[in-house]
Point group: C2
Chain length 251, copies 2
């Protein structure tokens, strides 16, 4: 899929400009998430403070991109894939802004955790979960940058692993809480951070759904993964079947 095939050079530039701004916003949000996680894992209060203050920039970008989209619709009256791009952008930036909010929350709890050290040790579980979340976020933004629906569909469903990690972490936190009431406060703080991480994963998945909508013109929200793969990505299915067949040495 290509953008920028219009007779009006200015129109091309406007669409390209919107897309670039979204990528920039995505980059900012990704870096905020990374910093928030680093602050959490390394008890870095300074870094946590930095994340809290940079949320304003993300908010500002959301408002600005929304305005650009409205202006393009009003002036250029986009149709087909151009319109889908604009609508997808309007949706994607809402998710990006909320990822920024979650990163800010993680930073806020990180500050409290750093100030009140305790024996609640969930470093390895949090670190594992964070790696998954960051990789899904990164890949989703990448799929958006390259308008790659194939990549987007591969990312869908990867949050199952995050949810599993979240459940395991919750069980671990529960044991700390039961062991000693003095662990409860910090265990709850870690739990809120984990919930925020999980939500970042959800938002990243939403971004992938918008990429598929943008490229394929199909709204795949609230649709089962099997249905999406078999209907819009039949090639993937062939690959999967082939893999299975190969595994069974039948081919």
């Amino acid at each position: 899929m290509e953008i920028g095939q219009h007779i009006s050079q200015r129109y091309n530039e406007e669409l390209e400009d919107i897309r670039n701004k979204v990528l920039q916003m995505g980059g900012l949000v990704e870096s905020q998430t990374e910093k928030a996680i680093k602050a959490l894992l390394e008890h870095d209060q300074e870094l946590a403070k930095e994340v809290s203050t940079s949320d304003q920039k993300v908010n500002q970008m959301e408002v600005e991109i929304d305005e650009d989209c409205t202006r393009v619709i009003a002036r250029r009256q986009p149709t087909a894939s151009d319109l889908r791009l604009v609508i997808a952008v309007v949706k994607v930036i809402t998710d990006l802004e909320r990822i920024g909010d979650e990163a800010e929350k993680i930073a806020r709890y990180s500050k409290k955790l750093a100030k009140n050290p305790s024996v609640v040790d969930t470093h390895s579980e949090l670190s594992h979960m964070s790696t998954l979340v960051l990789s899904i976020l990164h890949d989703s933004l990448d799929a958006f940058a390259r308008l790659d629906a194939d990549e987007a569909v591969l990312i869908l469903g990867r949050d199952t692993q995050i949810n599993k990690e979240f459940d395991n972490l919750s069980r671990l936190l529960m044991t700390y809480m039961m062991e000693d009431p003095r662990h409860i406060k910090n265990a709850l703080r870690v739990s809120w951070c984990a919930r925020s991480l999980e939500r970042i994963g959800d938002h990243a998945q939403n971004i992938c759904e918008y990429v598929i909508y943008l490229v394929k013109g199909k709204d795949v929200r609230h649709t089962s993964l099997e249905h999406i793969r078999s209907k819009y990505f039949p090639q993937d299915n062939v690959d999967i079947i082939e893999t299975i067949s190969n595994d069974q040495s039948e081919v």
Copy 2:
């Protein structure tokens, strides 16, 4: 502000139709939230189950309204207040869908709480918080239905009270958890429900911001309440100043 002043009768109908669908979706989400809260407060497992299954209808409406909006943009090329309506709708339904998700989560935890009765008694606090959340949700939808920016701006800031209730409830839950480790599981479930209630309040506030955008043409997200009131609703400020003056018996 009025909708439906177009020469094309069909276009009027299309916009009116979109607005009606949003109101319908809002009604459904509101009723789901009410049911989820009732299930939570009255330990009603059947009702909780009902909420879990009706989320699909909300999702379906979101997709349908989004399609309608895209179609209207492509065919009618709306500008000015019509375009703002369409953009506001695209945003509002995302919030409505997420309110539906939160209601579903409350219902899910309610089922578990009903199955595992315990002494964790937060009925009065939850009930208090729920009343606030339902009233903000109801009033936001009402402001959208009547395109009433004055009402919308009055609702903004009302979530401060919800946040206060949430903090109090969290403290109470903490005492239960510290008292007896056997309370921890249920206390956490109540805590997740309270967090969902708080989020529903946030989404309702977002809806108000979109109503203000729709009517006044100004994006007021991420803007302080004082700034919004003084800039776009100067009359309110006069009222507030008068009230204060009256209170101080200076007038």
